[in-house]
Amino acid sequence: MQLSENVFIIGAGETKFGELWERSLREIAVEAGLKAIENAGIYSKDVQVLYGSNSLGGTINAQNDIGSLIADFSGIASNHIPAIRIEASTASGAAAVREAYLGIKSGEIDCAIVGAVEKMTDLYGNEMLDHLGTLLDREWEAFFGATPAALAALSARKYMHDFNVPKEKLMSISVNDHLNATMNPDAQYRNKLTMETAMGSTMVADPLNIMDCSPMSDGAAALVMCSESFMKKNKKEGIKIMSSAVSQDFLALHSRNSYYTMDSTVLAAKSALEKSGIKHKDVSFVELHNSFSIYGLTAIEDLGFAEKGKGKQVIDEGIGVNDSLPINPSGGLKAKGNPIGAVGVGQFVEAVTQLRGKAGQRQVKDAKFGMLHNIAGTGSTSYVHIVGGE
């Protein structure tokens, strides 16, 4: 079956990511949604479906049916359009974008809004680790004391051991994130991070320090997506989604083929590149899922920019916004922030900003194609999207 419709993003918006104590889940979700609609210059009557993305609202905020909640407080309940929450762990954001993409590509939908939100700071201290444990295999990982950081640490130690890679190479991902975030007004941490401070920071799960770990964040991000025909009819300009790919793996780290190769990312990246028709050398920037520094380093390899064990070479060649392969110009999960159900859509907001040439100081020169990488937990699911072109 040949699907004909190209899919475009015509509006993007996000809240600041961070500890937004004074703001509720619904407030930040609505703020991002309205910004995206305003940015697209459409009216809510044009929207045919709302995909709400959220991961842990049911347990952190004791609020489910988040699709309805967002639609309701965005003022469109009486439009009676479908409003569904998409949950795919920390990959919920990209999952929601993909659902909208498929709906538009099929010809069934002309215009969709994706609204992603996570409100994490309503919990304090280590209570959050119980909730994050629900994203792992609860009975056979979390039950025995595993946390997301502990599992990432298991991957990190084995990787460093097998390839003789010093810890600083992992931490470079965090240092780069912080530098980029100084130039992003929406970022949670806008301070420069020195390698010395990072390496000396509090131990979370040896060998990972707190500066290897993404923070708890509140944040929301939204996109208006539409078909090519809708875009032309309404005389809008959009950023094309060149391809969308997803792949799955075992839920628990201990069941997988490798502790430091995410097969789901390898397969999704290969598929996304094939479908888009572009090559690695055409990629202008990557937004990758560095919930932990080790995942940033291994993602460089799994996305196909380096052989296994050689991701450090890419880092040595430079991953800043002016270097050969800019990684996380937004500030990434470490410094822009990690509101888990929203982070994947936040990557799209950054991509749209970059591809429109509106990223200010952190603008990647001649940005043409962006690769976006959003994973669930320790890599049970990986989404890779390629955006750009006309």
């Binding site: 025995f144 950081a149 599992l151 799960a205 201990h254």
Partner: protein
């Protein structure tokens, strides 16, 4: 966190390390699975219970400092990926051992221990941990 029935129904696996063996390809699975991911439908109804030796090798380990509430009193603790001699890998703590002696490749054996407790009034949950051989 744990409801009594949810804990009770897994006691056989967690107390005695009961795995499942695929009757078709003979591969061992722990935690148990009702379908073999290699043999798919050929394995249905052929997964057999089998007790593991509890002997294995450390594939990786970490020292957990930031722990969930049910593990607060054990902090810091060593968590490891352990490949059992029969093939399956599991995630478990290493206890009663000098931390500096734990390393990738070290031999371990399973012991029966308290795993976690759900606060003051909650149930105490038991299962496997490992010690250095």
């Amino acid at each position: 966190m744990g409801k009594l029935s949810a804990v009770w129904r897994e006691t056989n696996h967690r107390y005695r390390l009961i795995a499942h063996e695929c009757g078709n390809c003979k591969k061992m699975y722990f935690p148990p699975r009702d379908v073999c991911p290699i043999c798919h439908r050929e394995s249905i109804g052929k997964m057999k219970e089998k007790e593991l030796s509890g002997l294995g090798t450390v594939e990786s380990f970490t020292i957990v400092h930031d722990a969930p509430p049910a593990f607060a009193r054990q902090r810091p603790y060593v968590l490891a990926l352990i490949r059992l001699d029969e093939g399956p890998v599991l995630t478990a703590q290493i206890v009663d051992s000098v931390a500096s002696e734990i390393d990738i490749g070290k031999r371990v054996r399973s012991v029966f221990r308290k795993v976690r407790e759900d606060g003051k009034g909650g149930i105490i949950q038991y299962g496997y941990k490992f010690v250095l051989e």
